[in-house]
């Protein structure tokens, strides 16, 4: 149960059921759709870019607790960041969940998203945690 409990923590469960980031954006400047065909998780990110800055970010869609929590947390930590900062954080997050080497410093830099570190112990679920971040990466690369 170790891995399990370290994964389904209160933070993650709370975020997985939180709704404050889950809505459409009236003045979105762009959006991107992400999908995990094998499990059916499906999200759409909407963004408002203000020059180089992510001035608002929200999502709609459905999926498991992990993917929903990961999406909501990602929105929390990336909102207000510049495109470059965000891309850097995304790359650190993706390394972290894939168990590649990341420094303490790097982990600090992704703020609350660190809460998802233990997902790397459950390979079956890494994809769930990654979905939002890969989708966000695509979205930023277009912008």
């Amino acid at each position: 149960m170790d891995n399990l409990e370290s994964m389904y923590t209160d933070i993650i469960m709370e975020q997985s059921t939180a709704t404050y980031n889950k809505h459409e954006l009236d003045n979105k400047t762009d959006s991107e759709h992400g999908h995990n065909p094998s499990c059916g998780d499906d999200i759409t990110l909407e963004i408002i870019m203000d020059g180089d800055k992510i001035s608002d970010l929200a999502f709609t869609g459905h999926g498991c607790a992990i993917s929903q929590a990961s999406t909501s947390i990602m929105i929390d930590v990336l909102k207000g960041k510049s495109k470059d900062e965000a891309l850097k954080m995304i790359s650190i997050f993706l390394k972290m969940v894939k168990r590649e080497e990341v420094s303490e410093e790097e982990l600090d830099s992704i703020e609350d998203a660190r809460a998802l570190q233990n997902i790397s112990n459950m390979p079956a679920r890494v994809k769930c945690a990654e979905l939002a971040w890969y989708t966000m990466e695509k979205l930023l690369e277009k912008n």
Partner: protein, 407 residues
């Protein structure tokens, strides 16, 4: 033999660490199958059909004997009506390309059930687009059953192909294929039966069903991966164009023209998976040594137990037939308010292997207005203890998640 005795033949259960409830995806293999393949590669391996030496003849005989074994397993009138493929998906594509594309015309109809696996659905979308014909669906009722009215309504003159799974890989629904075949033949349609979930579990007799094509996968019936079967009526197979071209399926090859070999070689291009066929033959021997009746009894008892125990959990919704005489050992369900993927992870942590997702049947799930389910599927080596582990795991999952579940 009891399931407890059978279980001992499966090396993966040594030490009884896992409750494997995902045989609908792929089964485990008994040591008899693993050893048969191993032995083939150690002693009899050669390219069949092509050599002029004993070893190669031996490989040819082994391969053709496997074909005979498959033929008699499903009561095919002759072995050459058994084509070896890679899996059910390839068998279905062979039919779609070689029969479908060449026989369907604009405005012809293809009818399939909404519960088809993507492998018996997407190829028909391809055919209908290429030929300009219509793809229509037979829908299921609330219990996941095809009603007689629906069958009568959809299988009408103008329909040229009917695709139907004998057992749904999501709901476990057992379809009355014989009735559907009869109806289809009345309107002049041919019937493609997807036996991926049925042939391993219930005695299947192609002559009794009178189906035109039947496909199944070895890996869902104790065999190695990489070997599948296509059965077809002889006059259809004879009339069809070849699908894959290459070595061993030809007669004369000139620079601009080729004539093709007779059945079954016509449909088997290139070096075939003799090791896979050896494994499938060993699997059929194993199944016959247990007996299809015994297998059915074991599964029926376990299905009832699983269904009853699940029904006792008031936080669980079960999908599909409630009448167990119409349901095979495949049960989809959800813990209300908890995503199936999370359920599967908790179950995994207690050694229970189930599948979660859309089970390659998105249109069915969409028609039921759900995204995904948890699926437990059974085979002859499962036990009540496996099911008890599942039920315990579900209780644990519910306990973990209940305070977060939104009503």
């Amino acid at each position: 033999m009891t399931n407890y005795e059978i279980r001992k033949d499966f090396p993966i259960f040594d030490g009884d660490k896992i409750a494997y409830l995902d045989s609908g995806a792929t089964t485990q293999r008994p040591k008899q199958v693993i050893e048969a393949v191993d032995n083939f590669y150690r002693t009899a391996n050669a390219n069949p059909h092509r050599g002029a030496y004993e070893l190669s003849i031996e490989a040819t005989n082994i391969y053709e004997n496997a074909r005979k074994k498959v033929a008699s397993f499903i009561n095919s009138p002759s072995p050459e009506q058994i084509i070896f493929t890679r899996n059910s998906s390839e068998s279905l594509n062979l039919i779609a390309y070689s029969y479908g594309l060449n026989n369907l015309k604009k405005d012809d109809k293809i009818v399939i059930s909404i519960m088809e696996h993507h492998s018996n659905l997407v190829p028909w979308q391809f055919v209908s687009k290429k030929c300009g014909c219509l793809l229509e669906y037979m829908y299921v009722n609330e219990e996941g059953l095809l009603t007689d009215e629906e069958i009568e309504k959809k299988i009408v003159p103008g329909v040229k192909i009917v695709g139907i799974t004998q057992i749904s890989n999501v709901l476990g629904t057992i379809n009355d294929v014989k009735k559907i075949v009869k109806k289809a033949h009345e309107v002049g349609a041919i019937v493609v039966v997807d036996g991926a979930q049925s042939v391993p579990h219930i005695k299947t007799d192609v002559q009794d069903l009178d189906c035109d094509f039947l496909v199944f996968s070895g890996h869902k019936m104790l065999s190695p991966l990489g070997i599948g079967v296509l059965y077809g009526k002889k006059e259809l197979l004879n009339k069809m164009d070849p699908f894959l071209f290459g070595g061993d399926m030809i007669e004369y090859v000139y620079e601009q023209e080729t004539t093709f070999a007779p059945l079954p070689a016509k449909f088997e291009a290139g070096t075939q998976n003799v090791g896979g066929a050896v494994g499938l033959a060993a699997a059929i021997d194993y199944i016959n040594s247990i007996g299809m009746d015994t297998i059915k009894e074991i599964e029926e008892e376990l299905t009832k137990y699983l269904f009853d125990e699940l029904s006792k959990l008031d936080f669980v919704t079960i999908y599909g037939p409630k009448d167990l005489s119409k349901k095979a050992g495949v049960i989809s369900f959800n813990i209300n308010g908890v995503h199936p993927h999370d359920v599967a992870s908790v179950l995994d942590s207690v050694g229970v292997c189930v599948r979660s997702g859309n089970h390659c049947a998105q249109p069915l799930l969409r028609s039921m207005d759900i995204d995904s389910t948890v699926r437990a599927s059974l085979y002859m080596y499962n036990t009540k203890e496996d099911i008890d582990k599942l039920i315990n795991g579900l209780n644990k999952t519910y306990d973990m998640f209940k305070k977060w579940i939104k009503k």
